[in-house]
Each structure stands twice: as C-alpha cells, then as structure tokens.
Subunit: 339 residues, 2 copies
Amino acid sequence: MKNKRLVLAARPKGLLVKQADFRMEEVKLPALKEGEFLIKVLFLSVAPVMKFYMQDGAGIEAPLQLGDVMRGRGVGKIIASKNAQFKIGDIVQGKCGWQEYAICDGSPYFMMYKVRQRKLPYSTALGVLGMTGFTSYFGLYHIGELKAGDQVLVSAAAGGVGTTIGHLSKIKNAKAIGLASTDEKCKLLMEKLGYHGAINYKKENISERIDHFFPEGINVYFDNVGGEILDIALTKLKKYSRIVICGRISQYENSLNSSEYALKNWYKIGATRSKMQGFFIYDFEKDFNQAEEQMATWISQGKLMYQEDILEGLEQMPIALNRLFERKNIGKQLVKIAN
Amino acid sequence: MKNKRLVLAARPKGLLVKQADFRMEEVKLPALKEGEFLIKVLFLSVAPVMKFYMQDGAGIEAPLQLGDVMRGRGVGKIIASKNAQFKIGDIVQGKCGWQEYAICDGSPYFMMYKVRQRKLPYSTALGVLGMTGFTSYFGLYHIGELKAGDQVLVSAAAGGVGTTIGHLSKIKNAKAIGLASTDEKCKLLMEKLGYHGAINYKKENISERIDHFFPEGINVYFDNVGGEILDIALTKLKKYSRIVICGRISQYENSLNSSEYALKNWYKIGATRSKMQGFFIYDFEKDFNQAEEQMATWISQGKLMYQEDILEGLEQMPIALNRLFERKNIGKQLVKIAN
C-alpha cells in the first residue's frame, strides 16, 4: 500500500510558507509491528505553531529536521491494528502528520485519543470538540476565570479558538465582543457565533469601539494576537481583570523584521491588580473528556455553534497554513484528506 | 492640647518632594466626640504611593486636596477614648496621617488594627508585622505561589517589602537573589536578610549575574520596580513562572519625562506559560492575623530578620519620603514621632 506525505524540504523564510519548503513523497507503507495500528487520515488541522516547528521549534517542541514528515494533528479511521487498545473501525485523533496514512503506537508522543461517536462530522474532533475547542474552554473558564456579568474582549475572534468564545461567554451570562479583520467575519460573529458585538480592527478605531461596547471596561481579554491590540486592551481593564494569553500571531510577522512590538501599558496590570497568564492546553488533559461532553451537549442543545473552514486534498496543506497568517480563514482551518 | 501636623501646601513637581510642598501647622485638638479616640503617634510610615496621593491619587485612593493633612499609616498609643472597642493604653496602627496626635473613630476608612503586644518594638507594626510584611508574605506565598526549590528573583530587595523576601523564601526551601543599588545593601541582603546572593544593579551586568545564580532560570520574580529590570527578568523565566507585580518605583521617574518604559519581552509570558499578576494587600485582610502570628513566630525563632531605617521627628517626613525615590533607605523607612 502506498502513502503520500509532505516532508519539510527547506526552512521557511518570511511570513508565508512556499510550496518549495515542502516535498510530496509517495512511499510504500511498512508492515505493522506489534503494538502499532494504521490510520486512514480523514482531516488534518493547521495551527500557527507549525511555522515554528519548521523553523526553530519555538521552545515548545523540538524543531523538525529537513526530510521529516510535517508534524500536526489529524482525525482518522483505524484500518489495520496490532494493538488491542485501538481496534479496526475506531475513529482517533492525534499526531498523524501531514500524510494520507499514519502508523502509530499508543505511546504518549502521538497524543492519540479515541473520538466518541456523535451525530457530528469527524472534523469537529479537530475543532470545537478537540484541542481548539478545549483551548477556548479552559482558556476562558479556567485561566480567564469567567464569571456571570463579565465583559469579555476577544482578538482574532473569527479564528479557530475565537469562534467559540462568543457562545461560551453567553452560556455563562457574560458578554463578548470580538475583533476581526473583515465585515463579513464581524457579521458572522454577531449573527451565528454568539458575540454581542464585533469590531472590524482594520477599519474602525479599536479603542473608541471598545469604549462604546464596554464603557466601564473589560473583565477578560482573550488574546490571540498580542502586540498593539493587547496594548489597547490593557488600557481598558477593570480591577481584577484577567488577560488570557493564548496566541500572538501578530508577533510572528514582527519577529521577521526584528521589530517585536514593545508593550507600553504593561504597568496597568499592577495598577488594576489584574492577571496576565499563558497556558498549555495539555495541562488540562485529565478534564478533556468532561469538556468534550459538555460542549457536545451545548451543541446538541443549540447553545454552541462552531465554524470550520475546510480545504480539500493533502497538497492544500501549505495553503491552509498560510491562510492563518493571511487572516483568510473563517473559523477552524482544516483540510479534508479522504472521505 | 496642641497638635502639630503636616498638610499638603502644593502639588509636587519632579521626582522628589520639596519642603515647600508641605506646611507645618500647630492646631488645638478638638474635644473627642462619642465613638472617637485620641492616638499619640509613635511612628509613621512612608510609601511611594504617597507621592500619588499628593498628585493625582493614582486611581487607588482619592487624591489629597491642598490643605489636607498628609495621608499615611502610623502606629500609636490611645491616650483618650470615647469608644468601647478602643481603650486607653491600646497600641493601634492605621491611617493616622502625618501628625503627632490623631483622632479616629473605628470606621473602615481608618483601617485601624490593634497591635498585639510582643517582645518587639512597636515600629514592627508598620514594617515586618504590618502592611509591609503582609505584602511580602501574601505576595510571595499567594500571588507568587512559592514552592520548595523555587528560584526567586527580587528587585529593590533592600527596600521595605524586599528585605523580608529572602528569609520568607528560605523558610520554604526556596532560594532568593536580590537586586540592590549599593554594595552595602548587597552585603546586608546576604549576611543578615536570608538572601542566597545579591546583584548590585548599578555596577554589575544584571542579565549575566542572574544567569550566574540561576543558570536554569527563575520560577518567581518579585517585582518592586518595573521597567527595564522587569524586561530582563522576563527573559529568565522558566515554564509556569509567576511574576508578582508589587511596585514599579522606576516608572514614577519615567512618567515625569513622559517616557514610560515599553516592555520588549512581554511575549515571554505566553511562551513560558507564566503568570504576571498585581494584587491589593487589603484583599487578604481576613488572613492578616494569621500572617502576623506566623511571622512573629519566625522572628522569635530567629528564622526571619527584619530591617528598619528610622529617622526622627515629624519634620523629617518629607525627607523620609524622598529617601525612597533616592533609593537611600535600607529596609522599611519609618519616622519616629514620639517615645
């Protein structure tokens, strides 16, 4: 049996990856060893951190070596198995890599979870019911310590993580305002995704619009971008606010020009007795099942909507990755690999 | 009976206050009303925040009006009382103001606490066994979540709050390194105040010296200064570090030149999944007694040393306040008002 895969051919330079940074290989799948199982990949996920794997690893995971299969999570169906824990027909999600078939053992490296059968597309296991949704859930509820009545500001609100923060806030009787780059995204945030309001940060005066929605300030800032928008948000903090540092996609650009943004209003954290905190989603692993169950229930009750942005075909993976940095994706960016 | 007091005569300009910003008044003490009591002030405390009361209030408390008695905490003895809760002979600490005699009622505004009789000078009620010590205690243990084995960096380590962080760390089997402005202060930190090491930030390369003491990085940064030293500390964070934002005396200077320091390495908070948090010491009020008891026990056991820097005479108050900004004080800056 043949497997197609994308390997790292060159370390990317600049904000976007190029086709030449990857090489498509077709290789024969080896026979399964004891403990291994074979996954037919259905969907693959992209995330900004993958740019770091390609470059220097960003201190979180080891960087990839040239010739390595691109690292990334996927969801797929087990079609052969020599592992009693993972049976033929099981749907799993974990580190599949950018390829059509993945051979895994059950070891922790692969972070492989069984996907519960629900009346929802398997793609949700990489989005709202996977790491993306868990990042929203634990980021907002645990790191953000969301309370009823809270005023929540969200950057990159139309991105994978941001798209669920509107409803997750509303469910707890909090009010979320989202920042997005186009009117189309802003409309979606308000009409489908539970946001009380939206700000087009490319066209509108961000500071004035925040004041308009939250004249008394904000309790939670869920930050997916960092940089200048974070700096503005710092001036809007009420006392005892929480800033959830989830991503800083704006800084991936700046770091290329060695012009990392310097934060002017950092001292507001002390002045308002607030908290700014980063987190690692796998620290919440023991509660993933509970979060998945809870969010699936809310989806079935119509309280939580999700949004996916799906390309098709393994060769689309570099394009999908670039869409994050071009801010083109609306919702969780995925690529469908097989039916 | 006559009372001498210092009132605000002019709003200060520049880093230091001037004698002309104050006016010494001698006034007749009015008769006590029902519920009031008269305190003979023994010691008064100074803190950087007082500069803000004189200027704009800094959003924490209302600014003073011209002609108001300067606001500040003191410790004193009750010499007359029409309040059943506060008896003649009681030692109390609270908002006495900059004066020789203070008339208080028991209302929350005065934040008046009875001082427990211990074999320690009453001055400690304003230092290690008062708000200054509580700030160290709750800042380090609660906001800083200190654990055994932690590597702790402290700025303004020879200041009021900083002087107790060395021993409070050591007691929990953590290791503290302090930053101070002179060799004399550095020596004191190591020889008396429980610090494992000290860095003279005026003379030494701060970054290199931190690496020397903590080659693997720091778990806790207890920040009393903000600005550039905070920026360096951010580059030394281990994963899941805690930055306790306690003060930012460096920025009081910069704000005068409208050149607030912009923080370059803010993104390290996300990258290391760390936490940066401010706090308000009165939020821990219900636990003040327990902290006072605990620290008094440690002092009696020789595990906790404290350091005070005491001037004498009410007229010295402006000089005492300036010493904080001139970084002259070694330990908690106090002024003795009466025996």
